[in-house]
Protein backbone atom coordinates (compact mmCIF):
# COMPACT_ATOMS: atom_id res chain seq x y z
CA UNK A 1 0.00 0.00 0.00
CA UNK A 2 2.19 2.87 -1.24
CA UNK A 3 -0.01 5.68 0.19
CA UNK A 4 0.55 4.34 3.70
CA UNK A 5 4.32 4.12 3.28
CA UNK A 6 4.70 7.52 1.58
CA UNK A 7 2.47 9.55 3.86
CA UNK A 8 3.86 11.75 6.63
CA UNK A 9 0.44 12.09 8.19
CA UNK A 10 -1.05 8.61 8.14
CA UNK A 11 -2.81 7.69 11.38
CA UNK A 12 -1.04 4.75 12.99
CA UNK A 13 -2.88 4.62 16.32
CA UNK A 14 -6.62 5.34 16.37
CA UNK A 15 -7.93 7.78 18.97
CA UNK A 16 -9.25 6.14 22.14
CA UNK A 17 -13.04 5.94 22.17
CA UNK A 18 -14.84 7.77 24.96
CA UNK A 19 -15.97 5.60 27.88
CA UNK A 20 -17.05 6.08 31.49
CA UNK A 21 -14.08 5.83 33.85
CA UNK A 22 -15.75 5.29 37.24
CA UNK A 23 -15.29 1.51 37.32
CA UNK A 24 -12.02 1.16 35.41
CA UNK A 25 -10.15 4.49 35.54
CA UNK A 26 -7.18 3.22 33.56
CA UNK A 27 -6.59 0.61 30.88
CA UNK A 28 -3.82 0.29 28.31
CA UNK A 29 -2.18 -2.05 25.83
CA UNK A 30 1.48 -1.76 26.76
CA UNK A 31 4.62 -3.75 27.48
CA UNK A 32 3.04 -6.81 25.87
CA UNK A 33 0.10 -6.81 28.26
CA UNK A 34 -3.45 -5.60 28.62
CA UNK A 35 -3.21 -3.85 31.96
CA UNK A 36 -5.30 -1.52 34.01
CA UNK A 37 -6.63 -0.28 37.29
CA UNK A 38 -10.07 -1.30 38.57
CA UNK A 39 -11.97 0.44 41.35
CA UNK A 40 -12.88 -1.63 44.39
CA UNK A 41 -16.62 -2.02 44.73
CA UNK A 42 -16.50 -1.57 48.50
CA UNK A 43 -13.57 0.69 49.44
CA UNK A 44 -12.98 4.04 47.64
CA UNK A 45 -9.34 4.20 48.70
CA UNK A 46 -8.53 0.77 47.25
CA UNK A 47 -7.93 -0.14 43.63
CA UNK A 48 -7.02 -3.41 41.97
CA UNK A 49 -4.20 -3.57 39.47
CA UNK A 50 -5.01 -6.17 36.82
CA UNK A 51 -3.10 -7.48 33.83
CA UNK A 52 -3.17 -10.18 31.18
CA UNK A 53 -0.09 -10.95 29.08
CA UNK A 54 -0.16 -11.17 25.33
CA UNK A 55 0.26 -14.73 23.94
CA UNK A 56 0.02 -16.93 27.06
CA UNK A 57 -2.57 -14.78 28.92
CA UNK A 58 -0.62 -15.06 32.19
CA UNK A 59 -2.64 -12.90 34.55
CA UNK A 60 -2.24 -10.93 37.72
CA UNK A 61 -4.62 -9.08 40.00
CA UNK A 62 -3.41 -7.43 43.19
CA UNK A 63 -4.38 -4.39 45.23
CA UNK A 64 -2.45 -1.12 44.99
CA UNK A 65 -0.71 -2.26 48.21
CA UNK A 66 0.35 -5.36 46.28
CA UNK A 67 -1.82 -7.88 48.15
CA UNK A 68 -3.26 -10.70 46.03
CA UNK A 69 -6.86 -10.49 44.88
CA UNK A 70 -8.90 -13.30 46.41
CA UNK A 71 -10.85 -13.83 43.20
CA UNK A 72 -7.84 -14.42 40.96
CA UNK A 73 -6.43 -17.69 42.38
CA UNK A 74 -7.42 -20.23 39.74
CA UNK A 75 -8.40 -17.96 36.86
CA UNK A 76 -9.63 -14.53 35.81
CA UNK A 77 -11.40 -12.56 38.55
CA UNK A 78 -14.20 -10.02 38.08
CA UNK A 79 -11.66 -7.18 37.99
CA UNK A 80 -9.90 -8.72 34.98
CA UNK A 81 -13.30 -9.26 33.36
CA UNK A 82 -14.19 -5.59 33.91
CA UNK A 83 -10.82 -4.50 32.54
CA UNK A 84 -11.27 -6.57 29.35
CA UNK A 85 -14.73 -5.05 28.93
CA UNK A 86 -13.49 -1.48 29.21
CA UNK A 87 -10.50 -2.21 26.95
CA UNK A 88 -12.94 -3.32 24.25
CA UNK A 89 -14.88 -0.06 24.70
CA UNK A 90 -11.72 2.05 24.55
CA UNK A 91 -9.83 0.29 21.75
CA UNK A 92 -12.38 -1.88 19.98
CA UNK A 93 -12.41 -5.68 20.20
CA UNK A 94 -10.28 -6.20 17.09
CA UNK A 95 -7.35 -4.19 18.41
CA UNK A 96 -7.46 -5.88 21.82
CA UNK A 97 -7.62 -9.33 20.19
CA UNK A 98 -4.70 -8.53 17.91
CA UNK A 99 -2.57 -7.23 20.76
CA UNK A 100 -3.31 -10.19 23.05
CA UNK A 101 -3.00 -12.68 20.15
CA UNK A 102 -6.27 -14.47 20.90
CA UNK A 103 -7.76 -16.82 18.26
CA UNK A 104 -10.89 -14.67 18.15
CA UNK A 105 -9.05 -12.46 15.67
CA UNK A 106 -10.32 -14.42 12.64
CA UNK A 107 -13.60 -13.50 10.96
CA UNK A 108 -14.85 -10.03 10.10
CA UNK A 109 -16.74 -9.15 13.25
CA UNK A 110 -14.68 -7.71 16.11
CA UNK A 111 -14.89 -10.03 19.13
CA UNK A 112 -16.92 -8.95 22.14
CA UNK A 113 -15.43 -8.72 25.63
CA UNK A 114 -17.20 -11.99 26.56
CA UNK A 115 -15.74 -13.79 23.54
CA UNK A 116 -12.26 -12.49 24.35
CA UNK A 117 -12.45 -13.49 28.02
CA UNK A 118 -13.86 -16.91 27.12
CA UNK A 119 -11.16 -17.55 24.52
CA UNK A 120 -8.41 -16.66 26.99
CA UNK A 121 -9.92 -18.65 29.85
CA UNK A 122 -10.23 -21.69 27.58
CA UNK A 123 -6.43 -21.67 27.24
CA UNK A 124 -6.22 -22.26 31.04
CA UNK A 125 -3.87 -19.36 31.74
CA UNK A 126 -1.59 -19.30 34.80
CA UNK A 127 -0.90 -16.62 37.37
CA UNK A 128 1.98 -14.50 36.09
CA UNK A 129 5.21 -15.57 37.79
CA UNK A 130 6.24 -11.92 38.13
CA UNK A 131 2.80 -10.73 39.31
CA UNK A 132 4.21 -8.62 42.14
CA UNK A 133 6.67 -6.77 39.90
CA UNK A 134 4.07 -6.28 37.18
CA UNK A 135 1.64 -4.78 39.68
CA UNK A 136 4.21 -2.19 40.70
CA UNK A 137 4.96 -1.31 37.09
CA UNK A 138 1.31 -0.98 36.10
CA UNK A 139 0.50 1.16 39.12
CA UNK A 140 3.44 3.43 38.27
CA UNK A 141 2.09 3.73 34.72
CA UNK A 142 -1.29 4.76 36.14
CA UNK A 143 0.28 7.46 38.31
CA UNK A 144 2.28 8.70 35.32
CA UNK A 145 -0.95 8.79 33.30
CA UNK A 146 -2.69 10.86 35.99
CA UNK A 147 0.26 13.24 36.12
CA UNK A 148 -0.53 14.42 32.58
CA UNK A 149 -3.50 16.32 34.02
CA UNK A 150 -1.16 18.31 36.25
CA UNK A 151 1.06 19.63 33.46
CA UNK A 152 0.34 23.23 32.41
CA UNK A 153 -1.09 24.26 29.04
CA UNK A 154 0.96 26.63 26.89
CA UNK A 155 0.22 29.10 24.10
CA UNK A 156 3.65 28.65 22.51
CA UNK A 157 3.24 27.05 19.07
CA UNK A 158 4.04 23.33 18.84
CA UNK A 159 4.89 22.79 15.16
CA UNK A 160 5.54 19.08 15.78
CA UNK A 161 1.82 18.55 16.39
CA UNK A 162 1.19 19.06 12.67
CA UNK A 163 2.29 15.42 12.36
CA UNK A 164 -0.66 14.44 14.53
CA UNK A 165 -3.85 15.65 12.84
CA UNK A 166 -7.01 14.98 14.78
CA UNK A 167 -8.53 11.74 13.54
CA UNK A 168 -12.06 12.90 14.19
CA UNK A 169 -14.89 10.70 15.32
CA UNK A 170 -14.08 7.01 15.50
CA UNK A 171 -16.97 4.83 14.36
Amino acid sequence: MPMWEESSLVRVVPTARPRKLAKVPFVELAAGRLQGVVSSGSDVSRVYVSSVASGDFAFACRTNNNRPCGGARGGFCNHIGAMVGEAVLQYGGARVARYLQTDTADGDAAPTAQQLAAAMSAARPQQAADAQAVTGQVFARFLRHLAYLELPATTAPLPEMHWFPTAGAVA
Binding site: V13, L21, G32, L149, A156, H162
Partner: protein
Protein backbone atom coordinates in the same frame (compact mmCIF):
# COMPACT_ATOMS: atom_id res chain seq x y z
CA UNK B 1 -9.47 33.29 -6.51
CA UNK B 2 -7.26 30.27 -6.03
CA UNK B 3 -5.91 28.67 -9.21
CA UNK B 4 -6.59 24.99 -8.54
CA UNK B 5 -5.16 24.03 -11.93
CA UNK B 6 -1.65 24.79 -10.63
CA UNK B 7 -2.04 22.24 -7.84
CA UNK B 8 -2.19 19.19 -10.08
CA UNK B 9 0.93 19.93 -12.16
CA UNK B 10 4.32 18.31 -11.53
CA UNK B 11 6.76 19.94 -9.13
CA UNK B 12 10.33 20.38 -10.41
CA UNK B 13 12.91 18.10 -8.78
CA UNK B 14 10.32 16.41 -6.61
CA UNK B 15 10.70 12.85 -7.89
CA UNK B 16 14.48 12.80 -7.48
CA UNK B 17 14.34 14.16 -3.93
CA UNK B 18 11.61 11.76 -2.85
CA UNK B 19 13.39 8.78 -4.43
CA UNK B 20 16.41 9.47 -2.22
CA UNK B 21 14.19 9.94 0.82
CA UNK B 22 12.39 6.66 0.15
CA UNK B 23 15.69 4.83 -0.25
CA UNK B 24 16.89 6.15 3.10
CA UNK B 25 13.56 5.43 4.80
CA UNK B 26 13.94 1.76 3.81
CA UNK B 27 17.29 1.75 5.63
CA UNK B 28 15.55 2.58 8.91
CA UNK B 29 13.14 -0.35 8.46
CA UNK B 30 16.03 -2.80 8.82
CA UNK B 31 17.99 -0.74 11.32
CA UNK B 32 21.67 0.17 11.39
CA UNK B 33 22.99 -2.48 13.75
CA UNK B 34 23.97 -4.92 10.97
CA UNK B 35 23.38 -3.11 7.67
CA UNK B 36 22.77 -5.19 4.55
CA UNK B 37 24.00 -4.27 1.04
CA UNK B 38 20.57 -2.85 0.10
CA UNK B 39 20.80 -0.53 3.08
CA UNK B 40 24.26 0.62 2.05
CA UNK B 41 22.75 1.59 -1.30
CA UNK B 42 19.99 3.56 0.45
CA UNK B 43 22.56 5.43 2.51
CA UNK B 44 24.56 6.24 -0.60
CA UNK B 45 21.40 7.51 -2.31
CA UNK B 46 20.86 9.98 0.52
CA UNK B 47 24.48 11.13 0.44
CA UNK B 48 24.39 11.59 -3.35
CA UNK B 49 21.15 13.56 -3.19
CA UNK B 50 22.70 16.18 -0.90
CA UNK B 51 26.08 16.17 -2.68
CA UNK B 52 25.74 19.81 -3.73
CA UNK B 53 24.82 21.12 -0.28
CA UNK B 54 26.96 22.52 2.56
CA UNK B 55 26.48 19.31 4.58
CA UNK B 56 27.58 17.02 1.71
CA UNK B 57 30.84 15.90 3.33
CA UNK B 58 29.24 15.25 6.72
CA UNK B 59 26.43 13.15 5.22
CA UNK B 60 28.84 11.23 2.96
CA UNK B 61 31.03 10.30 5.92
CA UNK B 62 27.99 9.37 8.00
CA UNK B 63 26.61 7.18 5.20
CA UNK B 64 29.92 5.35 4.97
CA UNK B 65 30.14 4.74 8.72
CA UNK B 66 26.51 3.66 8.89
CA UNK B 67 26.93 1.24 5.98
CA UNK B 68 29.84 -0.32 7.88
CA UNK B 69 27.67 -0.64 11.00
CA UNK B 70 29.84 1.73 13.03
CA UNK B 71 27.78 4.93 13.02
CA UNK B 72 28.02 7.02 16.18
CA UNK B 73 25.42 9.51 17.36
CA UNK B 74 27.04 12.33 15.37
CA UNK B 75 26.75 10.24 12.21
CA UNK B 76 23.10 9.42 12.80
CA UNK B 77 22.51 13.11 13.36
CA UNK B 78 24.18 13.92 10.04
CA UNK B 79 21.90 11.40 8.29
CA UNK B 80 18.86 13.01 9.91
CA UNK B 81 20.11 16.41 8.76
CA UNK B 82 20.60 15.14 5.20
CA UNK B 83 17.08 13.77 5.03
CA UNK B 84 15.71 17.00 6.54
CA UNK B 85 17.56 19.07 3.93
CA UNK B 86 15.90 17.07 1.15
CA UNK B 87 12.47 17.73 2.61
CA UNK B 88 13.45 21.38 2.96
CA UNK B 89 13.86 21.52 -0.82
CA UNK B 90 10.55 19.69 -1.31
CA UNK B 91 8.90 22.16 1.06
CA UNK B 92 10.22 25.13 -0.87
CA UNK B 93 8.96 23.73 -4.18
CA UNK B 94 5.51 23.04 -2.72
CA UNK B 95 5.26 26.48 -1.09
CA UNK B 96 6.30 28.19 -4.33
CA UNK B 97 3.44 26.38 -6.04
CA UNK B 98 1.01 27.34 -3.24
CA UNK B 99 2.00 30.99 -3.57
CA UNK B 100 1.50 30.83 -7.33
CA UNK B 101 -1.96 29.34 -6.84
CA UNK B 102 -3.02 31.90 -4.21
CA UNK B 103 -1.17 34.84 -5.76
CA UNK B 104 -0.12 35.77 -2.23
CA UNK B 105 3.17 37.50 -1.36
CA UNK B 106 5.21 35.82 1.37
CA UNK B 107 7.69 37.12 3.94
CA UNK B 108 11.29 36.02 3.31
CA UNK B 109 12.65 33.29 5.59
CA UNK B 110 14.67 34.89 8.37
CA UNK B 111 18.23 33.64 8.92
CA UNK B 112 18.57 30.87 11.49
CA UNK B 113 19.29 32.22 14.96
CA UNK B 114 20.25 29.49 17.42
CA UNK B 115 18.25 29.55 20.64
CA UNK B 116 19.60 29.46 24.15
CA UNK B 117 21.17 26.12 25.09
CA UNK B 118 18.79 23.66 26.75
CA UNK B 119 19.60 21.14 29.51
CA UNK B 120 22.25 18.98 27.83
CA UNK B 121 21.61 15.84 29.91
CA UNK B 122 17.93 15.70 28.94
CA UNK B 123 18.71 16.27 25.28
CA UNK B 124 21.38 13.56 25.45
CA UNK B 125 19.00 10.99 26.92
CA UNK B 126 16.44 11.74 24.20
CA UNK B 127 19.12 11.43 21.52
CA UNK B 128 20.39 8.16 22.97
CA UNK B 129 16.90 6.65 22.78
CA UNK B 130 16.42 7.84 19.18
CA UNK B 131 19.80 6.35 18.23
CA UNK B 132 18.85 3.02 19.81
CA UNK B 133 15.66 3.10 17.75
CA UNK B 134 17.59 3.75 14.53
CA UNK B 135 19.96 0.87 15.27
CA UNK B 136 17.12 -1.58 15.98
CA UNK B 137 15.09 -0.37 12.98
CA UNK B 138 11.33 -0.63 12.68
CA UNK B 139 11.57 -4.40 12.19
CA UNK B 140 13.68 -4.73 15.31
CA UNK B 141 11.24 -2.92 17.59
CA UNK B 142 10.36 -4.57 20.88
CA UNK B 143 8.38 -3.56 23.95
CA UNK B 144 11.45 -2.77 26.00
CA UNK B 145 12.83 -0.36 23.42
CA UNK B 146 9.47 1.39 22.92
CA UNK B 147 8.95 1.67 26.67
CA UNK B 148 12.40 3.21 27.04
CA UNK B 149 10.98 6.54 25.89
CA UNK B 150 8.67 6.89 28.90
CA UNK B 151 11.40 7.91 31.31
CA UNK B 152 12.90 10.36 28.82
CA UNK B 153 9.51 11.95 28.11
CA UNK B 154 8.60 12.23 31.79
CA UNK B 155 11.80 14.18 32.37
CA UNK B 156 11.23 16.47 29.37
CA UNK B 157 7.53 17.28 29.80
CA UNK B 158 7.66 19.62 32.80
CA UNK B 159 10.13 22.01 31.11
CA UNK B 160 8.24 24.42 28.81
CA UNK B 161 11.29 24.93 26.57
CA UNK B 162 11.50 21.17 25.98
CA UNK B 163 7.80 20.67 25.30
CA UNK B 164 8.24 20.40 21.53
CA UNK B 165 10.69 17.52 21.83
CA UNK B 166 8.63 15.91 24.61
CA UNK B 167 5.32 15.79 22.71
CA UNK B 168 7.06 14.59 19.57
CA UNK B 169 8.79 11.70 21.36
CA UNK B 170 5.64 10.86 23.33
CA UNK B 171 3.47 10.56 20.22
CA UNK B 172 6.19 8.71 18.29
CA UNK B 173 6.90 6.23 21.10
CA UNK B 174 3.18 5.47 21.50
CA UNK B 175 3.01 4.48 17.83
CA UNK B 176 6.10 2.31 18.13
CA UNK B 177 4.70 0.66 21.28
CA UNK B 178 1.40 -0.09 19.55
CA UNK B 179 3.32 -1.67 16.65
CA UNK B 180 5.46 -4.12 18.65
CA UNK B 181 6.97 -6.54 17.95
CA UNK B 182 8.39 -5.05 14.77
CA UNK B 183 9.19 -8.39 13.16
CA UNK B 184 5.46 -9.11 12.74
CA UNK B 185 4.66 -5.68 11.23
CA UNK B 186 2.70 -6.04 8.00
CA UNK B 187 3.00 -2.55 6.59
CA UNK B 188 5.24 0.17 7.97
CA UNK B 189 4.59 3.94 7.91
CA UNK B 190 8.10 4.41 6.51
CA UNK B 191 8.02 8.11 5.67
CA UNK B 192 6.09 9.11 8.78
CA UNK B 193 8.36 7.33 11.25
CA UNK B 194 11.49 8.55 9.51
CA UNK B 195 10.05 12.10 9.66
CA UNK B 196 9.42 11.82 13.39
CA UNK B 197 12.80 10.21 14.00
CA UNK B 198 14.74 12.83 12.01
CA UNK B 199 12.85 15.70 13.57
CA UNK B 200 13.46 14.30 17.04
CA UNK B 201 17.18 14.00 16.29
CA UNK B 202 17.38 17.65 15.19
CA UNK B 203 15.42 18.87 18.20
CA UNK B 204 17.96 17.20 20.50
CA UNK B 205 20.57 19.64 19.19
CA UNK B 206 21.36 22.41 21.67
CA UNK B 207 20.04 25.67 20.21
CA UNK B 208 17.70 24.03 17.68
CA UNK B 209 14.72 25.82 19.20
CA UNK B 210 14.59 29.11 21.07
CA UNK B 211 13.59 29.35 24.72
CA UNK B 212 9.98 30.19 23.87
CA UNK B 213 9.83 26.97 21.89
CA UNK B 214 9.15 28.82 18.64
CA UNK B 215 10.49 31.63 16.54
CA UNK B 216 11.64 34.80 18.24
CA UNK B 217 9.33 37.74 18.73
CA UNK B 218 9.95 40.31 15.99
CA UNK B 219 7.04 42.76 16.22
CA UNK B 220 4.03 43.78 18.30
CA UNK B 221 0.65 43.93 16.61
CA UNK B 222 -2.12 46.44 17.24
CA UNK B 223 -5.28 46.11 15.22
CA UNK B 224 -8.11 43.72 14.36
CA UNK B 225 -7.89 39.93 14.33
CA UNK B 226 -10.39 38.18 12.07
CA UNK B 227 -10.53 34.40 12.63
CA UNK B 228 -10.75 32.02 9.66
CA UNK B 229 -10.98 28.71 11.49
CA UNK B 230 -9.50 26.25 13.97
CA UNK B 231 -7.06 23.44 13.14
CA UNK B 232 -6.92 20.68 15.76
CA UNK B 233 -4.05 18.24 16.35
CA UNK B 234 -3.92 15.46 18.89
CA UNK B 235 -2.19 12.26 19.87
CA UNK B 236 -2.97 10.07 22.85
CA UNK B 237 -1.28 12.35 25.37
CA UNK B 238 -1.24 15.83 23.83
CA UNK B 239 -3.60 18.23 22.10
CA UNK B 240 -2.86 21.39 20.13
CA UNK B 241 -5.21 23.84 18.45
CA UNK B 242 -4.21 26.56 16.05
CA UNK B 243 -6.52 29.42 15.10
CA UNK B 244 -5.78 30.81 11.63
CA UNK B 245 -6.71 34.44 11.23
CA UNK B 246 -6.24 37.61 9.21
CA UNK B 247 -4.67 40.52 11.08
CA UNK B 248 -5.53 44.07 9.95
CA UNK B 249 -3.19 46.66 11.50
CA UNK B 250 -4.83 49.70 13.07
CA UNK B 251 -2.42 51.96 11.17
CA UNK B 252 -3.85 50.84 7.83
CA UNK B 253 -0.78 48.82 6.79
CA UNK B 254 -1.07 45.59 4.78
CA UNK B 255 -3.04 42.71 6.33
CA UNK B 256 -1.16 39.51 7.18
CA UNK B 257 -1.92 35.89 7.96
CA UNK B 258 -1.33 34.95 11.60
CA UNK B 259 -1.89 31.98 13.89
CA UNK B 260 -2.55 31.63 17.59
CA UNK B 261 -1.80 28.33 19.30
CA UNK B 262 -2.65 26.55 22.50
CA UNK B 263 -1.63 23.08 23.65
CA UNK B 264 -1.88 20.84 26.68
CA UNK B 265 -0.66 17.41 27.72
CA UNK B 266 -3.58 15.06 28.45
CA UNK B 267 -4.43 11.53 29.59
CA UNK B 268 -5.43 9.37 26.60
CA UNK B 269 -9.03 9.00 27.84
CA UNK B 270 -9.66 12.76 27.47
CA UNK B 271 -11.02 12.93 23.91
CA UNK B 272 -13.70 14.69 21.84
CA UNK B 273 -15.19 17.65 23.69
CA UNK B 274 -12.69 16.98 26.48
CA UNK B 275 -9.81 18.37 24.43
CA UNK B 276 -11.66 21.66 23.86
CA UNK B 277 -12.27 21.83 27.63
CA UNK B 278 -8.54 21.52 28.31
CA UNK B 279 -7.65 24.24 25.80
CA UNK B 280 -10.40 26.82 26.04
CA UNK B 281 -9.43 28.45 29.38
CA UNK B 282 -6.04 29.40 27.92
CA UNK B 283 -7.01 30.98 24.60
CA UNK B 284 -10.09 33.23 24.50
CA UNK B 285 -9.68 33.33 20.73
CA UNK B 286 -11.03 29.75 20.54
CA UNK B 287 -14.43 30.88 21.79
CA UNK B 288 -14.31 34.04 19.67
CA UNK B 289 -13.57 31.98 16.54
CA UNK B 290 -16.26 29.42 17.38
CA UNK B 291 -18.86 32.12 18.01
CA UNK B 292 -17.89 34.28 15.02
CA UNK B 293 -16.28 37.25 16.77
CA UNK B 294 -13.30 39.34 15.81
CA UNK B 295 -10.76 40.40 18.47
CA UNK B 296 -8.87 43.58 19.03
CA UNK B 297 -5.14 43.24 19.74
CA UNK B 298 -2.95 45.81 21.46
CA UNK B 299 0.77 45.21 21.26
CA UNK B 300 0.49 41.43 20.76
CA UNK B 301 3.93 39.91 20.16
CA UNK B 302 4.32 37.99 16.89
CA UNK B 303 7.11 36.03 15.19
CA UNK B 304 8.26 36.32 11.56
CA UNK B 305 6.29 33.15 10.88
CA UNK B 306 3.09 34.88 11.93
CA UNK B 307 2.75 33.03 15.25
CA UNK B 308 1.13 35.24 17.88
CA UNK B 309 2.70 34.75 21.31
CA UNK B 310 -0.69 35.01 22.97
CA UNK B 311 -1.26 37.07 26.07
CA UNK B 312 -4.88 37.54 27.15
CA UNK B 313 -4.36 41.00 28.60
CA UNK B 314 -3.52 42.32 25.13
CA UNK B 315 -6.90 41.30 23.70
CA UNK B 316 -10.50 42.43 23.71
CA UNK B 317 -13.48 40.73 22.06
CA UNK B 318 -14.67 42.81 19.11
CA UNK B 319 -17.89 42.84 17.07
CA UNK B 320 -19.05 39.79 15.19
CA UNK B 321 -17.19 38.82 12.03
CA UNK B 322 -18.45 36.24 9.55
CA UNK B 323 -15.65 33.91 8.45
CA UNK B 324 -16.78 33.88 4.83
CA UNK B 325 -16.83 37.68 4.73
CA UNK B 326 -13.28 37.63 6.09
CA UNK B 327 -12.29 35.04 3.48
CA UNK B 328 -13.87 36.99 0.60
CA UNK B 329 -12.89 40.51 1.61
CA UNK B 330 -9.70 40.33 3.69
CA UNK B 331 -8.01 37.08 2.60
CA UNK B 332 -7.33 38.09 -1.05
CA UNK B 333 -4.93 40.88 -0.04
CA UNK B 334 -3.00 39.27 2.86
CA UNK B 335 0.72 38.57 3.07
CA UNK B 336 1.72 35.08 4.15
CA UNK B 337 4.25 34.42 6.92
CA UNK B 338 7.77 33.08 6.54
CA UNK B 339 8.72 29.51 7.42
CA UNK B 340 11.21 28.98 10.24
CA UNK B 341 14.28 27.13 8.92
CA UNK B 342 13.57 24.08 11.09
CA UNK B 343 9.99 23.96 9.85
CA UNK B 344 10.79 23.57 6.17
CA UNK B 345 8.88 20.32 5.77
CA UNK B 346 5.79 19.81 3.59
CA UNK B 347 3.80 18.37 6.51
CA UNK B 348 3.97 21.84 8.10
CA UNK B 349 2.27 23.57 5.16
CA UNK B 350 -1.22 24.76 6.12
CA UNK B 351 -2.22 27.67 3.90
CA UNK B 352 -5.67 29.19 4.44
CA UNK B 353 -7.64 29.41 1.18
CA UNK B 354 -11.21 30.02 0.05
CA UNK B 355 -12.57 27.58 -2.53
CA UNK B 356 -15.92 28.10 -4.21
CA UNK B 357 -17.65 27.51 -7.52
CA UNK B 358 -16.92 23.78 -7.32
CA UNK B 359 -18.92 20.65 -7.83
CA UNK B 360 -18.56 17.85 -5.30
CA UNK B 361 -17.24 14.49 -6.52
CA UNK B 362 -18.01 11.55 -4.22
CA UNK B 363 -17.36 8.87 -6.82
CA UNK B 364 -14.21 7.47 -5.19
CA UNK B 365 -13.67 6.61 -1.54
CA UNK B 366 -12.98 10.24 -0.73
CA UNK B 367 -14.71 13.59 -1.18
CA UNK B 368 -13.19 15.87 -3.82
CA UNK B 369 -14.03 19.33 -5.10
CA UNK B 370 -13.88 19.77 -8.87
CA UNK B 371 -12.81 23.35 -9.59
CA UNK B 372 -12.45 24.42 -13.24
CA UNK B 373 -12.12 20.77 -14.27
CA UNK B 374 -9.38 20.04 -11.71
CA UNK B 375 -9.91 17.66 -8.81
CA UNK B 376 -8.86 18.76 -5.32
CA UNK B 377 -9.10 15.96 -2.72
CA UNK B 378 -10.73 16.97 0.57
CA UNK B 379 -9.32 15.53 3.79
CA UNK B 380 -12.60 14.87 5.62
CA UNK B 381 -10.72 12.49 7.95
CA UNK B 382 -9.27 15.38 9.94
CA UNK B 383 -12.48 16.97 11.18
CA UNK B 384 -12.57 17.18 15.00
CA UNK B 385 -14.69 14.59 16.83
CA UNK B 386 -16.53 17.31 18.78
CA UNK B 387 -17.62 19.45 15.85
CA UNK B 388 -20.79 20.10 13.85
CA UNK B 389 -18.74 19.95 10.64
CA UNK B 390 -19.06 16.46 9.18
CA UNK B 391 -18.00 14.83 5.94
CA UNK B 392 -21.64 15.03 4.90
CA UNK B 393 -21.76 18.79 5.49
CA UNK B 394 -18.59 19.15 3.43
CA UNK B 395 -20.11 17.10 0.61
CA UNK B 396 -23.22 19.31 0.66
CA UNK B 397 -21.31 22.59 0.52
CA UNK B 398 -20.89 25.31 -2.12
CA UNK B 399 -18.05 27.27 -0.53
CA UNK B 400 -15.24 26.13 1.76
CA UNK B 401 -12.55 27.81 3.80
CA UNK B 402 -9.78 25.32 4.25
CA UNK B 403 -6.09 24.73 4.78
CA UNK B 404 -4.16 23.73 1.71
CA UNK B 405 -1.91 20.83 2.68
CA UNK B 406 0.46 18.50 0.90
CA UNK B 407 1.07 14.85 1.76
CA UNK B 408 2.07 11.65 -0.06
CA UNK B 409 2.80 13.56 -3.26
CA UNK B 410 -0.41 15.52 -3.64
CA UNK B 411 -2.33 18.55 -2.45
CA UNK B 412 -5.30 18.16 -0.11
CA UNK B 413 -7.83 20.59 1.29
CA UNK B 414 -8.55 20.41 5.03
CA UNK B 415 -11.96 22.03 5.65
CA UNK B 416 -12.23 24.68 8.37
CA UNK B 417 -15.70 25.98 7.48
CA UNK B 418 -18.31 25.43 4.79
CA UNK B 419 -21.30 27.26 3.44
CA UNK B 420 -24.23 24.98 2.72
CA UNK B 421 -25.34 24.46 -0.88
CA UNK B 422 -29.00 24.13 0.15
CA UNK B 423 -30.93 26.98 -1.49
CA UNK B 424 -33.22 27.53 1.47
CA UNK B 425 -30.38 28.46 3.80
CA UNK B 426 -26.88 29.84 3.75
CA UNK B 427 -25.79 28.20 6.97
CA UNK B 428 -22.12 28.30 7.85
CA UNK B 429 -20.70 25.27 9.66
CA UNK B 430 -17.25 25.54 11.26
CA UNK B 431 -14.88 22.75 12.34
CA UNK B 432 -14.10 24.70 15.52
CA UNK B 433 -17.68 25.84 16.23
CA UNK B 434 -17.71 23.98 19.55
CA UNK B 435 -14.21 25.03 20.65
CA UNK B 436 -15.62 27.51 23.15
CA UNK B 437 -18.56 25.31 24.17
CA UNK B 438 -21.93 24.58 22.62
CA UNK B 439 -25.66 24.59 23.24
CA UNK B 440 -26.11 21.89 20.59
CA UNK B 441 -27.78 18.82 22.10
CA UNK B 442 -25.27 16.13 21.09
CA UNK B 443 -22.39 18.54 21.67
CA UNK B 444 -23.57 19.31 25.20
CA UNK B 445 -23.86 15.58 25.94
CA UNK B 446 -20.25 15.08 24.86
CA UNK B 447 -19.21 18.04 27.04
CA UNK B 448 -20.87 16.44 30.06
CA UNK B 449 -19.22 13.05 29.43
CA UNK B 450 -15.84 14.74 29.07
CA UNK B 451 -16.33 16.67 32.31
CA UNK B 452 -17.11 13.39 34.11
CA UNK B 453 -13.93 11.82 32.73
CA UNK B 454 -11.73 14.61 34.04
CA UNK B 455 -13.58 14.62 37.37
CA UNK B 456 -12.87 10.91 37.90
CA UNK B 457 -9.21 11.32 36.93
CA UNK B 458 -8.70 14.38 39.14
CA UNK B 459 -10.36 12.61 42.03
CA UNK B 460 -8.01 9.64 41.56
CA UNK B 461 -5.03 11.93 41.18
CA UNK B 462 -5.99 13.77 44.36
CA UNK B 463 -6.14 10.48 46.23
CA UNK B 464 -3.10 8.74 44.79
CA UNK B 465 -0.57 11.30 43.57
CA UNK B 466 -0.52 13.24 46.82
CA UNK B 467 -0.97 10.36 49.27
Amino acid sequence: MMRADLLTGELPGLDEALAAVDAFDQVLAGGLLRPQPAQAAGLTALANAVAGSPIAALVAEAAEKAAAGVAGEEHLLALAAGRTALFGAVHDAVVARVDEATGRPREATPPFEPGAPLPANLLASARAWLCDVARAGWRGLDHELAAGAAQVVSALLPAPELRRLAVLLDGFAAELAASCPGRTLGRIPLRRWADLWARGMLLTQPGAVTGAGAGAETAALTGRLLPLGVDLHEHATAVHAQVHAVFEPADGGPARLVRASVSAPKPDTVVGAGVWQLLRPHLSLLAAAGEGHAMELTGMPVTDEGDLLWSEERTRVDESADVFTTARVALPTVRAGATAPLDRHPARIAEPVLVEGYTVDRSGDEVAFVVGGERLAVDTGRLPAASPLTAQAVAGSRACIGLLRWDAGRFLLQPLAVQSAAKSRTAVVQAGAWAGGTADKSGAKAEKAATDTVTVLRERAGRLLRS
